[in-house]
């Protein structure tokens, strides 16, 4: 069985997710968001009662515990105010909502770009109507395909096709071509009738062999390396090109991972063996009191 492809939610799906005003966390479903808010932000830390809103908690605190609630718990800085009445997604100020949607959108495209860079896969939709894929899709009928197959067979019979090219180029001896001789009676289209060699074109040493026809590309094996060599080179190039980006692509993600681990971290304090207190003790204002 093939591995199931991971589906990434699209932007619309992400924007539709309910999220918590106090901690910016998002949830699958509004019910979960509301129970999250009751448990994390509107829970009385004296008796554990879960209220529906910050205002409700405030009233509860004043009436039951005779205490004043100043801030919503576990809120990110600046969001803990009691002046905004939040319930689920209701009451979120439009500017905060806008900001959140922008953040989600930015994050979405950043994620997509990161995924694309890491996997090399095209982004969603680009295969169909977005950026053109490298090879145009061919629409052909059965007849066209059959025609092409026929042409292939003929070309192959004429030795036009490349399969043995590599060897032939190194060993331009005629016998290598012998198997390609069509059986007598089969008339290759465009070929001269047997025996009617164009004068001086080829010595009649190899009767039965298909004579070179000026209209057809040069057969390999007739001491004609150039087309074969050309092809060979271009093939090699293709192979090289195909090989080269591959390791490069597999290297970059590895580097990226490392940089994620190393670069994107800033240690506030770092030393192998000297503790913050020891460094602090060396400061002139403390060192003057230190015993030596």
């Amino acid at each position: 069985m093939t591995k199931k492809r991971k589906r990434y939610p699209d932007l619309q799906q992400k924007l539709e997710r309910p999220w918590c005003f106090y901690c910016e966390r998002d949830f699958d479903d509004l019910k979960i968001l509301i129970s999250h808010q009751k448990a994390k932000h509107f829970k009385c830390d004296k008796c554990g009662r879960r209220l529906n809103t910050a205002g409700g908690l405030n009233v509860h605190m004043t009436q039951v515990h005779k205490e004043q609630l100043n801030q919503v718990e576990n809120a990110i800085p600046g969001r803990g105010g009691l002046d905004i009445e939040i319930f689920g997604m209701e009451g979120v100020p439009p500017d905060v909502l806008d900001q959140h949607n922008q953040d989600v959108t930015r994050q979405h495209f950043a994620d997509e770009a990161a995924r694309q860079a890491a996997t090399g896969n095209p982004t969603r939709g680009s295969g169909l109507n977005g950026a053109k894929s490298k090879r145009a899709k061919k629409n052909e009928t059965i007849e066209e395909i059959l025609q092409r197959a026929e042409k292939y067979r003929i070309d192959r019979a004429n030795g036009v096709l490349p399969p043995p090219v590599a060897e032939v180029k190194l060993e331009p001896t005629p016998p290598a071509v012998q198997p390609f001789v069509p059986p007598p009676g089969v008339v290759v289209p465009g070929a001269f009738p047997p025996g009617a060699f164009p004068p001086g074109a080829f010595p009649p040493v190899r009767p039965g062999s298909v004579p070179g026809v000026s209209g057809l590309p040069q057969r390999p094996g007739f001491g004609a390396p150039p087309p074969g060599a050309d092809f060979d080179n271009s093939l090699n190039e293709l192979i090289r090109d195909a090989q080269n980006p591959a390791p490069a692509a597999s290297e970059t993600p590895v580097e990226k991972k490392n940089s994620k681990k190393d670069k994107n971290i800033k240690l506030v304090f770092f030393d192998e063996s000297v503790s913050p207190e020891e460094k602090m003790a060396r400061l002139p204002r403390y060192a003057e009191f230190a015993r030596t």
């Binding site: 240690l267 460094k279 403390y286």
Partner: protein, 343 residues
């Protein structure tokens, strides 16, 4: 929150340690780099009352209570371990290290005072034999000290951790001079960076340690394979700033004496409560105005004292300016309880 307040009279320089008395949740000792040890009655009046200040010749790096609420021990940059009579204010020098003394710890069941210093030694003081002490050599500078009912954990430089049996240490303390006490276990920190703090579980099962790189590891004393397989570490006290993870040292660790959960305090000014057994964060408090340097729970677990002061950051020439405050938070019954233990 109204169940949290700050002490009115705070030290003038960074706070090195806060400690509640063993027999009351109102007496609190605070040691500071301003060369003083402060004794507060935190509930006498709103904002707490400063009972007395005990001046030292050099910055004080640690302080702890002794046998009762009237005896304290301090250690600091004057290389000396002192006993302070909190009633009279009289100070006696118990022993002198050959470098600054980082930590002092009193173990009540063994009547033993342990001091740990950057001179890579422990001094053991049997308090029934005043004036005598014995020395235990450590493989590296001591950074943090913590005791469970039977074990003593010493976190040191080069990520080494030694675990001693307090019984053996108490025995060694009876004979003065160099004590040849082999550690019960010698471990290497499971974290890559320098160990910052260590704290033992009150149920004697294991300990938590923290590093300068925003990480906390929980380990068990039991050396059996299945127990060691249970050890784990997690990241915390980090902040994403412009796509960069700013990682703060975890300066303080303290276990709750009743519920067995623990608090961590970091350079980001955040205190979080964790359930070590269920691997859950129970809660995280509002950010404090400066780096959290030290945390201590009161004996009954009802209060937590949090020492906040700007921490030394790498690359800075001085300690940055910032709030120097001690916060006291009253915990509700369930606040520090682990999730599963509720049932």
């Amino acid at each position: 929150m109204s169940n949290q307040f700050e002490l009115a009279q705070n030290p003038t320089d960074p706070i090195s340690a806060v400690n509640f008395a063993p027999n009351s949740s109102s007496r609190l000792l605070v040691s500071s780099w301003d060369r003083n040890v402060y004794l507060y009655d935190v509930h006498a009046e709103p904002g707490g009352k400063l009972i007395q200040k005990f001046e030292h010749p050099a910055p004080v790096l640690d302080v702890c209570f002794g046998r009762d609420g009237n005896e304290a021990f301090s250690a600091g940059m004057d290389w000396e371990v002192r006993r302070i009579d909190l009633d009279s204010g009289a100070q006696t020098v118990l022993s002198t290290h050959s470098a600054s003394v980082r930590s002092v710890l009193y173990s009540a069941p063994h009547n033993l005072l342990v001091s740990a210093s950057w001179d890579s030694t422990l001094h053991l003081h049997d308090l029934s034999q005043p004036g005598e002490f014995s020395t235990v050599a450590l493989p590296a500078k001591a950074f943090s000290l913590s005791a469970s009912p039977t074990k003593l954990v010493v976190a040191m430089a080069n990520r080494s951790v030694n675990i001693y049996e307090l019984d053996k240490l108490a025995q060694a303390a009876k004979a003065s001079g160099d004590a040849d006490v082999k550690p019960w276990q010698q471990r290497e920190s499971s974290m890559k960076y320098m160990t910052r703090a260590v704290s033992c579980m009150p149920d004697d099962a294991g300990y938590a340690s923290s590093s300068i790189e925003g990480r906390v590891a929980v380990e068990w004393f039991d050396a059996s394979e299945e127990s060691q397989a249970r050890k784990y570490a997690f990241k915390c006290h980090r902040q994403a700033v412009d796509g960069q993870d700013v990682v703060y040292p975890v300066n303080a660790l303290a276990f709750h004496p009743v519920h067995g959960t623990f608090a961590s305090g970091g350079g980001d000014g955040v205190v979080a409560l964790w359930d070590a057994v269920h691997k859950r964060r129970i809660r995280q408090y509002q950010k404090f105005p400066a780096s959290v340097q030290t945390i201590n729970f009161s004996n009954d677990g009802r209060f937590v004292a949090i020492g906040v002061s700007p921490g030394f950051e790498d690359g800075s020439d001085d300690v940055p300016d910032g709030a120097i405050k001690v916060f006291i938070r009253e915990l509700s019954d369930t606040e520090a309880k682990g999730k599963a233990s509720k049932k």
